[in-house]
């Protein structure tokens, strides 16, 4: 029944999806945290940059960003991410770059809302007992902020997992691109659809359940 799978590297395609997700998640966590730090910083120029970045990037379709990394960044600006003659690798790295740039805007917003959930009185109290800025941030505000944004960040991660399919637009051999090829060559449409849908359910559902459980467990009860 499943002999239509012969000759196709389905697991390899999903492994590519997982790699895209993991690297972009890491990248957007770092870049998103930096953006969030800028948005809450006392420097108006940084705040302005953070706000502009988030509002611009959130409103551009991810597809436009990914296609731009290939046709604009690589072809015109010469940004080949250190893989100028290895096209599959270049496509992969560009996709990670695009996904990171896009997802970071959502990570930033999630983190910022997390910082806002901490009552100002706590920081005031921390300052009153003589803690320095970094102590206030590191010991009082951020631990609470991070615990309250696990739920929203889990949603961003799940959305990112699904969004990695857009990388197919620039020829990265991940799940959606393999599904397209298989649909064109095989007659088993329903079964192919079911296999790939199942793959994504397997990837996203446990993530959602595990992080949802974690966020309920770790949330600061107020």
């Amino acid at each position: 029944m499943f002999d239509f799978l012969d000759g196709y590297d389905v697991l390899g395609a999903f492994w590519m999806t997982v790699k895209l997700t993991a690297l972009s998640a890491l990248g957007s966590l770092v870049w998103g945290t930096l953006l969030a730090a800028m948005r809450v910083s006392p420097v108006p120029l940084m705040r302005g940059f953070g706000t502009a970045y988030v509002n611009i990037v959130r409103n551009i379709p991810l597809t436009v960003i990914i296609v731009f990394t290939s046709l604009g960044l690589a072809d015109i600006f010469g940004v080949t991410m250190g893989a100028s003659d290895d096209f599959p690798l270049q496509g992969f790295r560009l996709a990670v770059l695009g996904l990171t740039a896009y997802t970071a805007a959502f990570v930033c917003e999630a983190l910022r809302s997390g910082i806002n959930t901490v009552p100002p009185g706590q920081a005031e109290a921390a300052r009153a007992i003589g803690l320095s800025f970094s102590q206030v941030l590191g010991l009082v505000v951020l631990p609470q902020a991070f615990r309250s944004v696990i739920g929203p960040l889990a949603n961003v991660l799940i959305a990112l997992t699904k969004n990695t399919t857009v990388a197919a637009a620039i020829g990265v051999a991940e799940a959606a691109s393999l599904m397209k090829t298989m649909i064109e060559n095989e007659a088993q449409l329903l079964l192919i659809g079911a296999v790939f849908a199942f793959g994504f359910v397997v990837l996203t559902l446990p993530t959602g359940l595990a992080l949802g459980w974690l966020s309920k467990r770790l949330a600061v009860k107020r």
Partner: protein, 294 residues
């Protein structure tokens, strides 16, 4: 300025802020300078490449038809997904287990797989099983994918909207003798719709953005697809990307602004119960589910 993170700056903090501003400004300026110089080197700043956008031809031939298709697909998806989503959302709240559980499974399923997969599947399905003409097939496929996904997201919004209403509403309705169906249609749903209107409007942004998938993967002639035809004609890759991105930003910014205006208006309104599902509710109404529609 009251913030969790910092106090009103004293002399030293003010000095530090000035230094930070200067350092950040220099970094930003260097980055922008690099962009400008590279574009100049590659000839992407030449007026000839930007000029098409000042003539009507580029707009009437490429951009406006593309934009019209984008809007058409988005509007169609919204109009179909909304009643379907409402139905699914209500069914998920049903007292009957045999309605509630299958609906829940359907909603969770379509929420957890990527829209692109749904679109690709729909496109192939229309080729193999229907006789829809090949030129309208991409639109059908895009709308099908968007409807299946967004109906299940909207179902969660509707469910959250109904659950956000005070319990007394249902109790009072049942007490005056309304049946369950009447309670839903006459009491709960009208209020829930007001509560979740901002969330529904901001879901439109997601739909508008997702139409671009059809342009690259299904050859649907929406805005992003129109861009590549335009760039092939005028050889203006970067300018065309900038213009198309700007159009998307303006449209989505208007939708977002409208949604938050609506949210503020509803919050201030006297008739509402005070709860409003804002734009943030779209992200994930249930932490456990495979939410996240960005």
């Amino acid at each position: 300025m009251t913030s969790v993170l910092y106090d009103t700056p004293g002399p030293r903090a003010k000095q530090r802020n000035v230094v930070l501003t200067i350092v950040f400004f220099v970094l930003l300026a260097l980055f922008l300078w690099w962009i400008w110089r590279t574009m100049d080197d590659k000839g992407q700043l030449k007026w000839a490449l930007w000029e098409p956008f000042t003539t009507s031809q580029a707009w009437t031939t490429y951009l406006l038809p593309g934009l019209a298709n984008t809007m058409k697909a988005a509007a169609l998806s919204m109009v179909i997904a909304l009643p379907l989503g409402a139905l699914l959302g209500i069914a998920r709240l049903s007292d009957h287990r045999w309605v509630r559980v299958p609906t829940g499974a359907v909603v969770e399923f379509f929420r957890s797989i990527p829209v692109l997969l749904l679109m690709l599947f729909a496109a192939a399905f229309y080729v193999s099983s229907t006789d829809i003409s090949s030129e309208s097939r991409p639109l059908y496929a895009v709308v099908t994918g968007l409807v299946l996904y967004n109906a299940s997201v909207l179902a969660e919004i509707v469910r959250a909207g109904i659950l956000s209403l005070p319990k007394g509403q249902t109790e009072a309705a049942l007490a005056v003798g309304l049946r369950k169906g009447q309670t839903m249609t006459n009491v709960l749903l009208p209020q829930a719709v007001t509560v979740m209107l901002p969330a529904i409007v901001s879901q439109l942004v997601v739909i508008v953005k997702d139409t671009a998938l059809g342009g690259v993967m299904l050859n649907f002639t929406e805005l992003l697809n129109a861009r590549s035809t335009l760039a092939a004609n005028y050889a203006n890759v970067i300018p065309s990307f900038i213009v198309v991105a700007a159009i998307f930003i303006v449209i989505n910014f208007l939708i977002t602004t409208f949604a938050s205006w609506l949210e503020g208006k509803l919050r201030r309104g006297k008739k509402s119960t005070g709860v409003v599902l804002g734009a943030a509710a779209v992200g994930g109404t249930e932490a456990a589910g495979a939410g996240g529609s960005i």
